[in-house]
């Protein structure tokens, strides 16, 4: 089909605009990545005149000279894994039950869940509850209060509904118990939804800082995001990172290098991994909203 001249111009402009938008997104990321290997402001002062000798791993060496960031990393792995496991198990089981036709009490249970999407007790009552349960400064404060996600349950339910009933009926005729049917037939078919939910849960928890900030006072327990917050936002530099540098200008220079390298350390794993999982993420968005 032939396009008119003005349409063709418009399409070219459109392409150019999209390239510009992509650059606007990409350049800050690239700037952070390059700066993490450079002395502060080298990139701006030298521009394309950069040479290999400007690059160094000093920022990274200082970042890892102190155990704080590694400890935060391992804490985050622990919290995100634990949270993902509990959330996915709870959501899959509940979603399976709610996907059954003719389940007695289904409507009541759905309302029971959906009410919590619109109303909640708020920050303070939840905090007081967690405190009264003795969960402050424990992993449970991170895992349990948010383990229940109505959205996850609905996603799982939608997925299970699409599994044909005939499969279950056939197994039942062969004498399989309900539990065996779930274990041997339903679960193997559910790998995609389990994967989508696990990705969402893991990344959500990995990037979260708020619950850890209010529930974990003990610094030893802090996840990566809280360590980052102290480096990036609160301008705290661990003594192990600076060594014996005491001059003010020198201190600022070092802290800026550490900031850039900490951003790379914290964000690069997800940014490298996500293109491989992109289609699963998109699937999750779609199932959740358009059905």
């Amino acid at each position: 089909m032939n396009l008119t001249k003005s349409d063709r111009i418009l399409l070219t402009v459109n392409k150019m605009l999209l390239v510009i938008v992509s650059l606007l997104v990409l350049l800050p990321l690239l700037y952070v990545f390059l700066s993490s290997f450079l002395q502060p402001n080298t990139l701006l002062n030298k521009g394309i005149m950069l040479s290999f000798s400007d690059f160094s791993l000093d920022g990274y060496a200082r970042l890892f000279a102190d155990g704080t960031i590694l400890r935060g990393f391992f804490n985050s792995v622990l919290y995100a894994t634990g949270f993902t496991f509990v959330t996915v198990v709870v959501s899959i089981l509940a979603g399976y039950t709610l996907s059954q036709d003719g389940l007695v009490g289904k409507k009541t249970i759905m309302i029971f869940f959906i009410v919590t999407m619109f109303f909640n007790g708020g920050l303070i009552p939840t905090y007081l509850l967690v405190r009264d349960l003795g969960m402050l400064n424990t992993v449970w404060a991170i895992i349990l209060p948010n383990a229940i996600s109505v959205w996850f349950i609905i996603l799982a339910r939608t997925y299970f509904k699409a599994i044909p009933n005939e499969l279950k009926e056939a197994a039942r005729i062969d004498g399989a118990s309900d539990f065996m049917i779930f274990l041997k037939i339903i679960l193997p078919l559910s790998k995609p939804i389990i994967f989508v939910l696990a990705l969402y849960a893991f990344i959500g928890q990995w990037n979260a800082y708020f619950d850890a900030m209010i529930y974990l006072e003990d610094r030893e327990l802090h996840p990566l995001q809280l360590v980052l917050r102290s480096i990036l936002i609160q301008n705290e530099v661990q003594p192990g990172m600076i060594g014996d540098q005491m001059a003010r200008a020198e201190l600022q220079r070092i802290s800026e290098m550490i900031k850039y390298s900490s951003i790379v350390v914290a964000s690069l794993p997800l940014l490298i991994m996500y293109p491989f999982f992109q289609k699963y993420f998109e699937k999750g968005v779609m199932v959740g909203s358009l059905k």
């Binding site: 418009l10 399409l11 701006l44 959906i114 990037n207 951003i263 964000s267 997800l270």
Partner: protein, 333 residues
């Protein structure tokens, strides 16, 4: 949530259908009860499966709802929720008449409504633009770039904002080349909202466009071909063919976003706060946090949070009814 509402409706219809046989003469009301009990006994496994979800919901969602009564009490940790003295609406009137109230309330309202008004159309425009890219590979690569910031944590985004906007940072270096001046934007209350909204768009607009891109994939290409034959220009085709397809999605997402206006996220606002930009950056959620968890004024903070939640529900209902009117009777509820 759109889903949830629809599901509920469906179940309501199903429920009514199930009820109908009961109306026939000779049916005992007890019979249904027995049948239900029988079903539960036979399918006890299903109820076992959903038990953890129900228990977690009761403990961590419903008990705090009960706990919110401390908004009407003078809560002291020693005497517990039950034992604390009832003070009625004292905390609410206290908040409404406090000198901070108007400022914090307006900050919350402005920050989130500007964010909504500026942020809402951009993913739609992005999706329409992406939809015009014919080469699947090029389209995929652009999407890959546009989605990436979504995976960066809010702490890192805020950290990047601080680094980029610092007086010695890259933005100021570029600005000083032109004007000779540097600006400390993070201490400027007037700049806070722009910083918050622009960084939010940078991070979220690409990801938010996914849903519109998917909706556009459902447009029948024959419609476009037919319109081309009729001599419709590209812009007219987008306006008359693509946009109407997006309208229902837009309506639902707009209601949800507008209904959440007062529920604006705490996390980024708190991180971007500096002692200097507080006049613009103090919003209700950060105020509740500081008052309740840092100062220990549990009852007052709960009252402020509850006030916010109530406004939010009203907003949701109001926006829903407005959209319904504009959208030929189609809303969320």
């Amino acid at each position: 949530m759109q889903n949830a509402a629809r599901e509920l409706q469906e179940e309501h219809v199903q429920h009514q259908k199930q009820k109908e046989p009961d109306k026939q003469p000779g049916h005992q009301p007890d019979k249904k009860k027995n049948k239900n009990l029988e079903y539960i006994k036979k399918n006890y496994l299903l109820y076992l499966f959903i038990a953890p979800a129900i228990i977690l919901t009761i403990v961590f969602k419903y008990i705090p709802m009960y706990g919110a009564v401390i908004a009407f009490k003078d809560f002291s940790p020693m005497r517990g929720i039950m034992g604390s003295e009832w003070v009625g609406l004292e905390h609410f009137t206290g908040f409404l008449t406090s000198p901070n109230f108007l400022n914090i309330f307006m900050n919350t309202l402005k920050l989130s409504s500007f964010e909504l008004l500026l942020g809402f159309p951009i993913p739609i425009i992005l999706a329409l633009m992406l939809n015009q890219i014919r080469r699947a590979n090029a389209k995929k690569n652009i999407q890959l770039i546009l989605y990436a910031p979504h995976f960066i944590s809010v702490v890192v985004i805020s950290g990047m904002v601080f680094l980029f906007l610092s007086p010695t940072g890259p933005i100021n270096s570029l600005v000083s080349l032109v004007t000779g001046n540097t600006y400390s934007l993070m201490s400027d209350p007037d700049a806070f909202r722009s910083i918050y909204i622009i960084s939010g768009i940078w991070q979220g607009a690409g990801w938010a466009s996914i849903i519109y891109v998917a909706a556009l994939a459902n447009v029948d290409p024959q419609l476009h071909d037919a319109a081309k034959i009729d001599g419709a220009s590209l812009l007219r085709r987008i306006w008359h063919i693509d946009l109407p397809v997006l309208k229902p999605v837009m309506a639902v997402l707009f209601i949800l976003a507008a209904g959440g206006i007062m529920a604006i996220g705490f996390e980024k606002a708190y991180l971007l706060q500096t002692s200097m930009n507080i006049p613009a950056s103090e919003i209700i959620p950060t105020y509740v946090y500081k008052l309740g968890l840092q100062a220990g004024d549990y009852s007052f903070a709960t009252a402020v949070g509850l006030f916010n939640a109530v406004i939010n529900v009203f907003l949701l209902v109001f926006v829903n009814s407005v959209v319904k009117k504009l959208n030929e009777g189609e809303g969320l509820m």
